[in-house]
Amino acid sequence: MSGKEIQLSQGGGGEEMNSLIHGLFYKHFSNDILTAAEDAAVLKPEGKIAFTTDSFTVSPIFFGGGDIGKLAVAGTVNDLAMMGAKPLWLSAGFIIEEGFAFGDLEKIVESMAKELEKSGAKIVCGDTKVVPRGSADGIFINTSGIGELRSEGISAHNLRVDDVIIVSRDIGRHGAAIMMAREGIDLQSDLKSDCETLWPAVEAMIDSGVRIRAMRDATRGGLAAVLNEWAEASGLCIEIEEEQLPVCEEVRGICEMLGFEPYDLANEGTFIISVHPDDATLALESLSEYPFCADASIIGSVSREKRGKVILRSPWGSSRYLELPKGELLPRIC
């Protein structure tokens, strides 16, 4: 591959683009369906399928614990996993700004290939566009995914009174890591995003027979958004014990300093599960097999207390609603 920066011609459909596709994308994403290079991938699913799509833009593109490529694969694979579907096939669409460093694109593609190995999913079709400098912020990636349903009926509408709410690990890491990596906050920390493919842990829970009622990865909007969506969809109340919520030291520090709450910060490898009350221990045992779920905890339960609301109970006996995060996350003034 020649050239150190992506040129407009590499998105032009001619020889340069062909060379980019073969030299980079086929090299790292190689599989028979993709390299057949047809207009569309021909697939033969066996049972019911789940289908999802997501677009990824992140600044900075490389951050502690991941990059936009890892995010694009993990994000879409996780959307499938959260429906109880084994991720099988993905598409990948790249919009690249002219002048983007080729070395960075290669790193992103390598990172995507590595992340795909964790779930066994394959990229089977794709698209590349190069836009003039100034028309995009470096690189945007869209990934769509198809997965095969392994467990049916996982839905926010299926929450039941007395269900146990579990969080798979400590919350707020991705949002805090991105904030720290951004210009304007000069902080030293080893904080890493939780960006991770969740399917192996989900598969283990399904295989061990945990009755999962609802499951969702707490991405943008964080834990607060997921719980509020569930409370609203089910018409039930979710009661959370603040003391049981795992939050790492660095995330707590960032929140203290800037006036944020860890419940509102984004995650990219943390999920919330509502399970049948008798299966909570089994769920925790299944999750504990995976390093990225080592801090899995029971954080609350479902009740009829205040329908459609999420209540956060403090260790000193007071309680408040946990509201949906609103607007941009902006630091407090004083």
Partner: protein, 374 residues
Amino acid sequence: MKTLQLRDLYDRFRDPATIKGLAALIAEDAKRLREPLHIMEVCGGHTHTIMKYGLNQLLPENIEFVHGPGCPVCIMPKERIDNAVELANIDGVILCTLGDMIRVPGSGSSLANERAKGRDIRSLYSPLDLIEIAKSNPEKRVVYFAIGFETTTPMTAAVIKRAVKEGVKNLFFHINHVLVPPPMHILMADEEAKIDAFIGPAHVSVITGSKIYEPFPEKYSTPVVVSGFEPVDVMHSIAMIVKQKIEGRAEVEVQYSRSVSREGNVAAQRMIEETMEVRESFRWRGIGDIEKSALRLRDEYRDFDAEAVFADYLSHEPIDDHKLCICGTILKGLAKPYECRVFGKACTPNTPLGSCMVSSEGACNAYYRFGGVS
């Protein structure tokens, strides 16, 4: 030796046993109060603590919080926000400000709206970033829409002094720094207002010293306790106020003794004094004009003063809040946010009609977000 962890700094101040212990102590002492006690927490940061940690739920019925005017975003009158929008719309201007100010609507638009239309508007984490922004954009004019009480003022003063020292010529300041004691006097002078004691903001006092509150016990026999922002701090301060009341005392006491002295940070005070002076009058959203309640740049810094340099672009007509808004009444302790007809309906954090709903430190905003369980 044990390394100091961040959580060591606040865990003690959120210790459930201590909070419950203080609640029990307050409940016991409050039995000896002859009349209901209305405590105003002047600062929005305290309102936030009270609502976020549910401290109001831990108090006996004869103690009530009155939420004060101490949120620099909430008190900004619409015409000043319009000024920010007008400045941002001047060609070649980069407008910088802090936090929530971006999304507060003026009479026609907000900075967030203008940013979406393509104007260069930036939310800073620290005003010190201004020097770098100005230096790396020599062809632009950088305007800082400066907001905040005595806490944030020294930082603005420091940036002005640094701009002078480093010869930065393309940085301008629209000063909206306000002072804590003047609105407290206005509220005390209002015969209708129900305020029996104040919780004073600790961070303001770190700069000014606790001495700025001394007129309140002297003039109105109203105790003031300067309090930290953690739940234990606030509960401890309430216990101190109740104690003063049952012992018939009215004094300035410092609960936040870990950082507050009587004299405060003299170096910071001097820096403010050198760069800024008190304005004749400033309009407070929800309260109205208050004499000598805000600061402006001194004449010798006129070349940095956005109000002078960009005078031709700025409007000055006062603009009132929505007719149905009762923020003024809430700030005087005569009503609770949920008693307002538009609260949570026409007036929400996304569409604030009145000052108290505007920022996360406003009383209505705190009630909207955290209130209502019990």
